[in-house]
């Protein structure tokens, strides 16, 4: 739904609320949802609040030039990982790492994946994670000749339409679309038309995280949610119970990452507390975790943390920012 349509809906609802003031007695409000018991407060009992010098944070506009700088940093990170470093270390931003992994998958030999499955089933977390990237890549890819022909026809139609318009299509972009279409077909056709790549991707990111893969544990919250309930995903409608499984797993992986003292654990907690789909939404704690990650992280990790803080800061008063900064040092203590 477009943002405009959503605002129109809100406007209509808002008008009704303003008109009636509150729920009128003649309206029977059916099925009032009850808060789940699945959302539990994160355990911060070990973190003692300390009297530390406060670091004041300037409220910056979201979506400012920082976004561009962050993107440049990601490109630099990807270049730095030219050898496609597998280990998620304490300097690499998570998006850069995931992008580098995806690049490897695109140029892989299709025959590699049957070998990977044997390795993954034998308990190799790296192999399990590669399988996740493979299935995730193939989710939207053409897998039959019929698919490819239709996609080519669609691209051709776009080109023909563009010829009748004042702004012709970018030839490079067109060739790139064709290349990536054929590249994904080459790799993904082995799965067959009816293969459920969404379920397979979810299964292997979960397996990799269960086997202790840090990248999988860090990405699970974002990627698994997208597979289960993202735009165009239908897993949640076929298996509604996956929501509870997702919450349990995500909380469990966050605890494991925090226990390993990896800064990505702090960033994951910041994300979860900001969104509120695993733990109750709490902007102060979310900011505190992001701040803690910024303090101990370097390069890509710190940059990710600052990006998160720029986003959260708009939900906080100056007093709450001070409180969150104190809490950040308590978390690191």
């Amino acid at each position: 739904m477009s943002g405009r349509a959503f605002f129109i809906l809100l406007f209509v609802v808002g008008t009704v609320l303003v008109f009636f003031g509150s729920a009128p007695s003649w309206v029977s409000r059916t099925s009032e949802p009850e808060a789940t018991e699945g959302l539990q407060e994160p355990d911060l009992s070990d973190h003692v609040a300390l009297s530390l010098p406060l670091i004041s944070d300037t409220k910056a506009k979201p979506f400012d030039v920082g976004i561009e700088l962050r993107r440049e940093q990601q490109y630099r990170d990807v270049e730095a990982i030219a050898g496609y470093k597998v280990v998620l270390d304490e300097t690499t931003g998570i998006d850069s790492w995931a992008a580098a992994q995806a690049e490897v998958i695109k140029s892989a030999d299709p025959a590699d994946f049957s070998k990977l499955k044997a390795q993954a089933l034998a308990g190799d977390p790296e192999a399990a994670m590669w399988l996740y990237f493979f299935f995730d890549y193939c989710r939207k890819s053409p897998r039959t000749d019929w698919d490819v022909q239709n996609r080519l026809a669609q691209i051709e139609a776009v080109v023909q339409r563009s010829e009748n318009q004042s702004r012709p299509i970018d030839v490079d972009q067109y060739e790139q679309s064709l290349d990536s279409l054929m590249q994904s077909y080459r790799l993904c056709r082995q799965l067959g038309a009816d293969f459920d790549a969404d379920s397979a991707a979810l299964e292997w990111i979960t397996n990799a995280a269960d086997l202790g893969h840090m990248g999988a544990q860090r990405l699970y919250h974002y990627r698994a949610r997208d597979l289960i309930a993202g735009y165009d995903a239908d897993l949640v409608f076929r298996h509604p119970e996956l929501i509870a499984v997702f919450q349990r797993n995500a909380a469990n992986y966050a605890r494991q990452l925090l226990a390993s003292d990896h800064p990505q654990g702090l960033l994951l907690m910041a994300r979860m507390l900001q969104i509120g789909d695993v733990f109750p939404k709490d902007a102060v704690k979310a900011y505190a975790y992001a701040k803690a990650a910024e303090i101990i992280g370097t390069e890509g990790v710190s940059e990710d943390a600052r990006g998160r803080m720029r986003w959260i800061v708009w939900d906080l008063s100056d007093e709450e920012i001070e409180e969150a900064t104190e809490l950040a040092y308590a978390i690191l203590d």
């Binding site: 406007f11 029977s28 699945g38 076929r238």
Partner: protein, 177 residues
């Protein structure tokens, strides 16, 4: 200044109107800072309106209800267990109630549902058939979104599937009360 940026006066006026609309919405919603609470309220009132028999609410429920439950950034489905199942049940009940009236919007709605696969299992053939039925009833008056869906689904179907869908569409139209 307008010419420099290649913005016509007409466009400029539209932009100004959009900005004014935005400010009006901002003023209206200034007391509702918690997005989740706002979504919960909106969903409850959509339920209430549909339950009271508002056919418009029943028609838009599948689209707006899904957005409120699971839309971009929404955590309602994660906060309230059973909300996804409730969305599915309500969608079916509301669609059936419109279908019982033989209204063309029921066919458009069912085409949406079979395409999305969020209430019934995804079925492009049925989605195509229901959209064709709507087209047969409405003729040139058919909505653009339904025309677009026909195009989107068509390319996924083999010629045999399309023929089967046409047959199903004719049966559906003949069954209108």
């Amino acid at each position: 200044m307008l010419n420099e940026r290649n913005i016509t006066e007409e466009k400029s006026s539209l932009i100004t109107q959009e900005i004014e609309d935005l400010y009006a919405i901002l003023e209206l919603c200034s007391d509702t800072s918690d997005n989740d609470n706002m979504r919960t309220e909106a969903l409850q009132w959509l339920h209430t309106s549909a339950d009271l028999g508002h056919m418009g609410a029943r028609r838009i429920y599948h689209f707006y209800g899904r957005w409120l439950v699971l839309g971009n950034g929404s955590a309602l489905a994660f906060k309230y267990p059973g909300l996804v199942q409730e969305f599915q049940e309500r969608s079916k009940v509301y669609a059936d109630s419109i279908l019982a009236l033989g209204h063309v919007q029921a066919y458009v709605l069912l085409s949406e549902m079979y395409f999305a696969g969020d209430v019934y299992p995804r079925d492009f053939l049925k989605s195509y058939a229901y959209a064709l039925a709507a087209e047969e009833i409405e003729g040139d008056q058919i909505e653009n979104t339904t025309k677009m869906r026909l195009r989107r689904v068509e390319y996924r179907l083999s010629p045999t599937d399309r023929a089967e869908a046409r047959e199903l569409a004719s049966t559906l139209v003949s069954q209108i009360p």
